[in-house]
Amino acid sequence: HPPSSAARTSPWDLRSPSVGGAWAAFEGLVDAELGDQKTGVAELKRYLHRFGYLPSNLSDHRRVASRDGNNFTDAFDEVLESAVSLYQSKLGMAITGRLDGATVNQMMAPRCGVDDQNMRPQRRNSQR
């Protein structure tokens, strides 16, 4: 639905198509919950995987095989619910495991690329 002018007055509104933002599509996932099958959940899983909240060794039925091994399905499963809880805890938010507005808003915000589980930079070091 198109934005109303009243709701879109923030100068840095990440949901505005003119502003974009890599994770603007997450807005459509507000209130998605366990058991849902919703377009965009796979992208959210990729986000959570990238920042260290979803393990890379998920069983095959939870993700579609791909060359990079990171193509997730659109199913809101218990693993995602637990990843959302971990995300909320690491970001100092109320831990609900739900994709409430505050959580999705936080996920849409621009951020540092270092993961939140403190492992990736270590891996970079070993590559060096």
């Binding site: 100068p11 840095w12 933002g21 915000a109 621009p110 540092c112 930079p121 270590q122 970079r124």
Partner: protein, 199 residues
């Protein structure tokens, strides 16, 4: 505060002096280089004020301990940048020293001059990434410099007690640093908020 796995830090004989240099290519052209360098000088200085570590800018990028660069897209470190917003920058844990900023962002030092709704404060991000280069991971404290996100057109320059305590666990305290000055400033902010609530 949090540390990277294994709690790495720069292990040098005291006094610790670290050099930093700027990648010669890909420099952003809409902010004078001298102003970018000055912003980084202030960002490094913020951390140097709380720990016994000094930072010196050098011309020789490849020989510097800390290598600062503006890069876009896939730039060869396995962590490609993703265009406007999304990931703004990243850095590596000690003693790797690489600090990368996404050229696709609209970097700003002065929001009066830069009116873009997606402008990102360069000095705030530099201060955060230097925290990583020195060994701090992301903090869950929203007010801390080491909190992972920063919205456009927002400046966050002041070290929080959480940042200071974490960094001092890695390097010790700068003998000239006084924790009570930080606390006084926090108390004064709290008092101002209190006054507003009272009114």
């Amino acid at each position: 505060y949090a540390f990277f796995s294994g709690r790495p830090s720069w292990r040098r004989k005291a006094p610790v002096n670290l050099t930093y240099g700027f990648f010669p290519g890909n420099f952003i052209d809409y902010i004078p280089r001298a102003e970018v360098e000055a912003a980084f000088r202030r960002a490094f200085g913020r951390w140097a004020a709380v720990i016994p570590v000094s930072f010196v800018e050098v011309e020789e990028y490849w020989a510097a301990d800390i290598k600062v660069g503006f890069h876009g897209g896939d730039h060869g470190d396995g962590e490609p940048f993703d265009g406007v917003l999304g990931v703004l920058a990243h850095a590596f844990s000690p003693e790797n020293g690489r600090l990368h900023l996404d050229t696709a962002e609209t970097w700003a030092l002065d929001f009066e001059k830069e009116q873009s709704p997606v402008a990102v404060d360069l000095e705030s991000v530099a201060t955060h990434e230097i925290g990583h280069v020195l060994g701090l991971a992301h903090s869950p404290v929203k007010e801390a410099i080491m909190y992972p996100s920063l919205i456009p057109r927002k400046r966050k320059l002041k070290l929080h007690r959480d940042d200071v305590e974490g960094m001092q666990l890695l390097y010790g305290s700068n003998p000239h640093f006084r924790l009570d000055s930080l606390l006084a400033s926090e108390t004064s902010s709290a008092a101002r908020i209190g006054n507003v609530v009272d009114v």
